[in-house]
């Protein structure tokens, strides 16, 4: 007996169920999400990345930084992320945070720390130092025993022209020369420093203690943006 057509139709149905659930469903629900207003400040969020930050995302993608770094803070109870201080002020990641990213690189491995909020934790110079060599004790913010590979190709050695460059790293090199970040390194550092999910929005309203006192305490409706007085 020829079961071919039955197999085909059956397989097609199972495929459609799975596709509808994980491709079509999410697209219908959140594919058309628009930027929203932060709570309580009322600023537009998220902000579209431009210039160096946008280019930095490409450097991040090309070198596949996501192989070791995630960019997602899980809610309490689903992981120790908040406990480790990766989510600023108990704020976990939500869909809105990634609205303008392409590609979205949430990552699957944490060989290094989560970067969803790294911009709020480290300043740009320390990020640059880590890119040059995370274990170099001459560089502020070094991490002893880190396995983060150095990225020497993101930096260049140049001759000091009268005064040293303000971007030069405080590392020893040949006399008369200095190590400065390339534009790729600058872009990547700008992008990484721009990673911050620190504002409260509709999906993740501020915890009770952070709310302005003027707000009515018992309400089921989410906090609405209020102009600061």
């Amino acid at each position: 007996m020829n079961f071919g057509p039955f197999v085909f139709i059956g397989v097609f149905c199972t495929m459609i169920i799975s596709w509808a659930t994980f491709v079509f469903g999410p697209q219908v629900q959140i594919g058309g999400v628009q930027p929203e207003l932060t709570v309580p400040a009322g600023d537009t969020y998220p902000i579209y990345r431009t210039g160096a930050e946008k280019r930095g995302l490409d450097v991040y993608r090309v070198n596949n930084c996501a192989a070791c770094h995630t960019q997602q803070v899980r809610p309490a109870g689903l992981g120790p992320d908040l406990m480790r201080g990766w989510g600023m002020r108990q704020r976990y990641s939500v869909a809105e945070d990634y609205l303008y990213d392409y590609p979205v690189m949430l990552g699957t491995q944490r060989v290094g720390p989560d970067l969803a909020n790294v911009g709020a934790r480290l300043d740009r110079q320390i990020i640059l130092n880590h890119l040059y060599d995370a274990r170099n004790e001459r560089l502020p913010g070094f991490v002893r025993g880190s396995v983060m590979p150095p990225y020497p190709f993101l930096f260049k050695k140049q001759k000091i022209d009268r005064t040293p460059s303000p971007d030069a790293l405080p590392v020893v090199t040949e006399a008369g020369y200095e190590i400065v970040p390339t534009s790729d390194a600058q872009a990547l550092a700008s992008y990484v420093a721009s990673l911050r999910q620190t504002v409260y929005i509709f999906e993740v309203p501020p915890p009770a203690s952070d709310k302005p006192i003027t707000m009515r305490p018992a309400t089921n409706s989410p906090a609405t943006p209020m102009p600061a007085k």
Binding site: P80, P103, Q109
Partner: protein
């Protein structure tokens, strides 16, 4: 259709041998390139692993950052090896079970060449910084499209071969094989259109990416491996499959639930999406039990014969790895466990076991059985088959156990905010070291496998030459 349909018998052996020789060239091309990509994948894996002990290792070369090398390892193993070895096996299966020659041997060989061209393009693309940034879907659009189109051509030839079949009665393995072909065409088209051509916004990309990766593993590679298990275990034991109904039940439930997502719990998506994914993964326990029961009943009383031939050994060990990896996937999907194990070596261990343990071993089994019959030549070196088996087996087991234990330790240590990342890494470094040893064994094993295969090809070519001269 009764419960104990006989296993496709080999009564017309000469006819079968005649039709099987129709796929000599394409099968040889597919298997040699598949094993070459696998060797390359394991070499990339070894480089990536070494970078853990020596972060400066090859650090000066932008093309060889840890990120790129790990991405290339997965891509070579999944596409270069996985899809090609799978295609070769499915084709041979359709030819053998359908007792019909391959629909177009020449077209198939051409499509296979294009497929390899596409993979090369993709690897060079990622190498030179043209990666898409989507996990396990890093090939740039031009390479991914070429790959998809040549896969479709090969798939159409396989389906034509299937529908030309002389033997109308179908066997569960054919269903698994067919589904695998359809599935890849579908998921890859979805990923191409919605991630690369008309990208969806925000985290919908991640949902599609997770869905794609999960389906590529569980359905595309998984069903191919299961087709081999359902064919070879009864066949080589000389037994009937215990229950055809049970096999079909497992087929449908696995196609239904096995394709749900693998979205990590706590992902920044609406909560129902990871929840549905967890439900689907947990429900795959049903087909797993059905398959284990079915094969167990088939083998019952004949365990001593499992040792009788290399193809059987490969397939049987592959089945055991499938069970372990599937169960681990279920355990790791439960929220209380995933809060510890997600984003650690635990998930890497599971994926490696799936690809290098379960899938690769079942395909090796198929290759060691099919090629001598197709080519009419024995394997040049039985010792190398043995080496291939043991090195792969030991490599997979070593690296799996090390990463599993390391992953669980990493998960526990992370729950204490007092432990800094460097301290956690130091603790798991021993595990990573052992896994590097496993990676090394894998490289040597794949080298032995490929060498044996190339020697077989040389011998076959020599014979053809002799025949044409005389």
């Amino acid at each position: 259709m009764n419960a104990t349909t006989t296993h496709p018998s080999n009564t017309r052996n000469d006819v079968v041998a005649g039709v099987e020789s129709s796929c000599r060239l394409p099968l040889m091309v597919l298997f040699i390139s598949a094993l070459s990509w696998l060797l390359l994948a394991t070499v990339f894996g070894l480089i990536a692993s070494l970078k853990f002990h020596m972060p400066q290792f090859l650090a000066g070369t932008p093309n060889l950052t840890y990120g790129r090398v790990t991405a290339l390892q997965a891509d070579c193993a999944l596409y270069g090896f996985g899809l090609q070895a799978g295609m070769a096996f499915i084709l041979w299966l359709f030819v053998r079970l359908g007792r019909t020659p391959v629909a177009s041997s020449l077209m198939l060989t051409i499509a296979a060449s294009f497929f390899n061209f596409a993979i090369t393009l993709g690897v060079v693309g990622v190498f030179c910084g043209d990666s898409t940034g989507f996990q396990n879907f890093e090939f740039p659009p031009y390479a991914a499209w070429t790959m998809w189109i040549s896969y479709i051509v090969m798939g159409v030839i396989a389906i034509l071969t299937y529908s030309n079949r002389d033997e109308q009665q179908t066997y569960p393995s054919q269903w698994f094989g067919l589904t695998s072909l359809f599935w890849f065409a579908w998921i890859c088209a979805t990923a191409l259109l919605l991630l690369l051509e008309h990208p969806v916004r925000g985290v919908v990309q991640s949902s599609i990416n997770w869905w794609y990766v999960h389906n590529l593993h569980t359905i595309v590679l998984g069903f191919t491996g299961l087709a081999a298990i359902f064919y070879f275990i009864p066949k080589l034991l000389g037994r009937q499959l215990f229950s055809r109904q049970l096999a079909l039940f497992a087929f449908w439930t696995l196609a239904l639930f096995g394709s749900w997502g693998a979205v990590p719990n706590g992902a920044p998506l609406p909560e129902w999406i990871p929840a549905m994914s967890t439900v689907g993964i947990v429900l795959t326990a049903i087909p797993i039990i059905a398959i284990v029961l079915n094969i167990w009943q088939t083998i019952r009383g004949h365990h001593e014969r499992l040792d009788s031939s290399w193809p059987l050994k490969f397939t049987y060990v592959g089945l055991m790895f499938w069970v372990i990896a599937s169960v681990q996937l279920i355990v790791g999907a439960v929220p209380s466990v995933s809060s510890l194990t997600d984003f650690t070596w635990f998930t890497v261990a599971q994926k490696n076991l799936w690809v290098y343990g379960f899938f690769a071993l079942t395909m090796f089994g198929a290759m060691y059985y099919a090629l001598p019959r197709v080519m009419g030549i024995e394997w040049p070196s039985p010792a190398m088959i043995k080496a291939h088996f043991w090195l792969t087996f030991l490599g997979v087991v070593l690296s799996y156990i090390a990463l599993l234990v390391g992953g669980i330790a990493q998960g526990y240590l992370l729950t204490n905010p007092q432990n800094s990342f460097a301290v956690i890494l130091k603790t798991t470094l021993m595990a990573v070291r052992v896994s590097t040893l496993g990676d090394l064994l894998l490289v040597v094993g794949q080298f032995a496998g490929l060498l044996n295969l190339v020697l077989l090809a040389v011998r076959a070519a020599g014979r053809e030459l002799k025949i044409s001269k005389s």
